[in-house]
Symmetry: D3
């Protein structure tokens, strides 16, 4: 992960990102049903490393499959540092895709976080590892109770959203958003501007201003914002 | 909001209110799928100010619509102090109806709280405002990603329950309950009595009494309660 | 409850138990949709005492039914100390099966905990009692708003899993698992071994070992584990 | 089944029965998710003979269980002629509770029909038998793929409705309705009257009358109906 | 309804209309969960006349409410000939909004059809009337068992889609589609062209042509289509 | 497709196949939510040719994507004669994956049938083609309204079941079942035997025999069946 890029999204909320993407015509970029595992865990930014499950079939989804070349273990060993593991668990929330041992190995490899529309298991152990996790819940059963692992770095569905390898993922307390790889630059630029505008609007609201004409700003308020921004740009913070 | 009325419900739990309403034949008064946004937030009592969304259609649900005369912004400016905003988001939980700026303006206008079967966005910002919120979750996308706003102070569906403008809303850690405007007085009277009875029963349980005949009380226990109440009424608290 | 038995499961996680049970061919033993009511509450182990509801019908599900011989009150009085009450609420999450008074009486009788696929009511009161509860949520309305109680110590469905009277229940932060009564001994033995193996694997991961061949262990790693175990058994902890 | 009783409901639609029951305060009497298996199959009236399943657990839900004393086979042999088998399949629609052989045996024993919130299997075979079936769908897998049978003639949940042994069941093209055993007589009387009134209203609509004041009738139209009924009672049909 | 307009959509399938609308950026125009009540019933085209329900509350949703000024009966009397009644039943499928008598009156008033995300009741009677109906199913209970009627000719949600009074509705065997009033003309023009193109492509497929380059057509096939169209326009049919 | 193989499954119902597979430990082989599009359509047997969709993202799921090298059109041209197209539409039922033109081309290429957990569009056109289809419903919108196509001949999820390229699919009026490629021979043998046994049992039931001891057969009835089979094998049919 390019540190410059990470830095550009370090302070942009997923709420702002979805607004910016919607203005570009993309309404379906927020992963449904995945929430921070621990309130207050740090936000993450990184490239998606995708993993894919299909439903369990008893001849395939066995403890023995954990030793197969196409296993979650092999996938983890292929993850580059700073990536975000994004796991298509087809929304299954009664089997845990990863527990403490797998999360510990991801942390050891420098993975930035885990995002899934499924569940994790061994909650106490996973929290102890400290890897930031966004998931749909916690479930004791192992993945093979409901899922068969079939591969990595393919296009996936996660929480009703398409995620492709190397798309950018940003996750915070509102959940996780995917930014298509091709749009990263223009989204970063627009997001910075939107954050600045919303900060200015919040000040007006705090000063007692009513909303119509302010949020979104009409011509007069746009001019006031631009004037303030010009001044702010000159002044030291 | 009449302060006397608020005072009458200040210590009555929603659990007690649903029992009282059920005894009057109303089983469908608790709003499904709406929970306190922050554990331990204060309970609220107030008259319902209703807002209504329909699903998004791309020609209507646009960032431009936020400037229309029929916008959530205009609705907020119409809210009287002490009301509770009750929002029919048709159960959509993948778009946030309000974020920090709109919540800040509601707080500035003296709105008592927000209750919705939808989601809010910008969780960190909304928590910072401090407005008590009951909702179905948190979602980063703006309302227009999934919803079109169509008006206020109409009858609405919220969490599978009918809410009319000016019905009374009480919300606590068990969720939110609607009391039809016409029944407010008789519910207040019955609820006070029910709370007193349950407090007495709890004391008996703490003293080791078994439940049958006690909860609900048989004739003998009813007499014991009435005797205790008569004594308690005379004694200083 | 036999204290020796409880002790054997005192440190075995539900995640480990589901793995052990799956290896014996049982994939459907984790109760869906039931979570700890309070984060960090103690884990519980005990024999299931089952209760069963069917949907409400207005002629049956009335406040008067609380005084009937077939009432939740009578069921509670039949619970032995140390049992775990497991309640089939047919997944209804918009009525609370028990509130503070019933939980207080269960606690007074020495019941170890409550597990249900339904909701509890009067959250503040239930938390004050301190009885450990696993449930699907919180709802203000009383049970009769949605449910009719029909009996106890029958086979039940709870969270999509069959539970029979006297099956063993273990519940922790990952949820609740049922161990069929006939399998308790062999599961206890296998689980102890599995926990020991996983502790050894976690040490290897912390030391930087990659996952393939380690988790699950191949022949070489199995031998290393056995050697370590032999040594550990001799050495003082 | 008393033939006089069957005759009293032979021409009363389930739509009329639900209206009559609602006027007596019972809103939850129509079994959700159960439809006629074959369009145009005959309507049925009879006493409920209940069967109950819980979820499958692999140690219990086996082909061997079909030979156990508590099996669907044994339950069928206990069914009296003219009863209606009402089966609580806990809404499982991916396993078929009965196929052609079990339906053939029920037909041979004179069972009037089968009503379930689950699925049947072997559609072609079941249709060939001709037993009237109301169900939630068709699924190839045997019951033990998802269900464990636990008993008969107990109170059950079916389609979100409580059904007790010997309640009256009426099923037609709108689905199946339960009439609590204690209310059968008064419902029969009220239903006959309601059917007569609606027939008269339909004639008025066919003659071009507008609905307000007619359906339901105001005082004037009630008088017109009573006059017509008095005349009709005297005249030969 | 302007007959010229109806004629323009008389032969355009809803499948084609959704393709045309999607090319204009509207993806959410097909009403979910509403299907033809009778296979093979005629397609309908007309302006939406909207009706709106909220959930039942026992003090409001009573048989007495059928006589209120805000009743479904009054709404039906306000429907103009040739309109299509579009009913927001908030997806409730366990209560029937209309039965045979109300459908008979709509037919008598010249209403073109009924579209709802809810259910109808008294299936046999409704089929006998012959009014074309698109709905989510059939349910015996009356509307007041689950719904409270609150008004007509307001914006509504129906099947997850926004419908405004006087939008155009087209319904066929694929379901029902809404065309925003402002887009009717341009959609009619584009749809006619799309239908012609697809008819030409089908001929090519029947003649054995492979799909890539044909559907959608590349430049070469576009030219062939245009040439064919020019010829076809000159020739008698 | 090997004709001998097809012949071996030509008369074996999916109900029998699921019983045989369950006896081998496979409970999850019946595709949920996929039903015959036309009642009475012929049963099909063939090798699975898999296709995979992920959710729509507006930058990817466009009418232009239909011309991409990774398009449903290209996938269809890769299908061998006699295969069954099995399509993972992630259960999306509000967009139709294929309409009449694509079905016509599949029929022209000799594809045996289409099985999906999604919807088809242009019902009238698809029925006219005559290709046997199992699907979850009918929806007017094109695939790109809800889905992005990403590839073929990969492992997929379909109706909650794992399907791998070249697994055997059998579909009849009870739905569609997958037989893992490695188990085809042994399943064929066991299925033939099971069909013969069930035919014999049905004769006994028709002759008035009770079920316990007969279905499944106890030792005595097994002996009777074996004797009958020995005789039947010698006699001309």
């Amino acid at each position: 992960m390019d540190h410059t890029l990470t830095a550009r999204f370090a302070h942009v909320s997923t709420a702002t990102l979805t607004t910016v993407l919607l203005k570009k015509g993309l309404r379906n970029v927020w992963l449904r049903g995945t929430r921070p595992l621990r309130p207050g865990q740090p936000r993450i930014v990184g490239r998606a490393f995708t993993l894919r499950f299909v439903p369990a079939r008893e001849d395939l989804a066995t403890p023995e499959s954990w030793s197969s070349p196409t296993s979650t273990r092999a996938a983890i060993e292929a993850m580059p540092a700073s990536c975000i593991a994004v796991v298509d668990a087809i929304g299954v929330d009664d089997a845990g895709i990863f527990g403490d041992i797998l999360c510990a190995r991801m942390a050891a490899r420098g993975v930035a976080g885990l995002v899934t529309d499924g569940a994790v298991r061994d909650l106490a152990g996973v929290l102890a590892i400290g890897l930031p996790v966004w998931c749909a819940g916690v479930a004791a059963p192992p993945s093979v109770a409901g899922l068969t692992f079939v591969g990595w770095q393919q296009p996936i569905a996660c929480g009703g959203v398409a995620v492709f390898p190397d798309d950018l993922i940003v996750a915070d307390s509102d959940g996780a958003v995917v930014i298509p790889a091709a749009l990263v630059d223009e989204v970063a630029a627009a997001a910075a501007e939107q954050e600045q505008l919303e900060a200015w609007i919040m000040r007006q609201v705090e000063a007692g201003a009513p909303l119509p004409g302010l949020y979104p700003p009409n011509a007069e308020n746009k001019a006031r914002f631009e004037a303030w921004r010009a001044t702010a740009a000159k002044a030291p913070e």
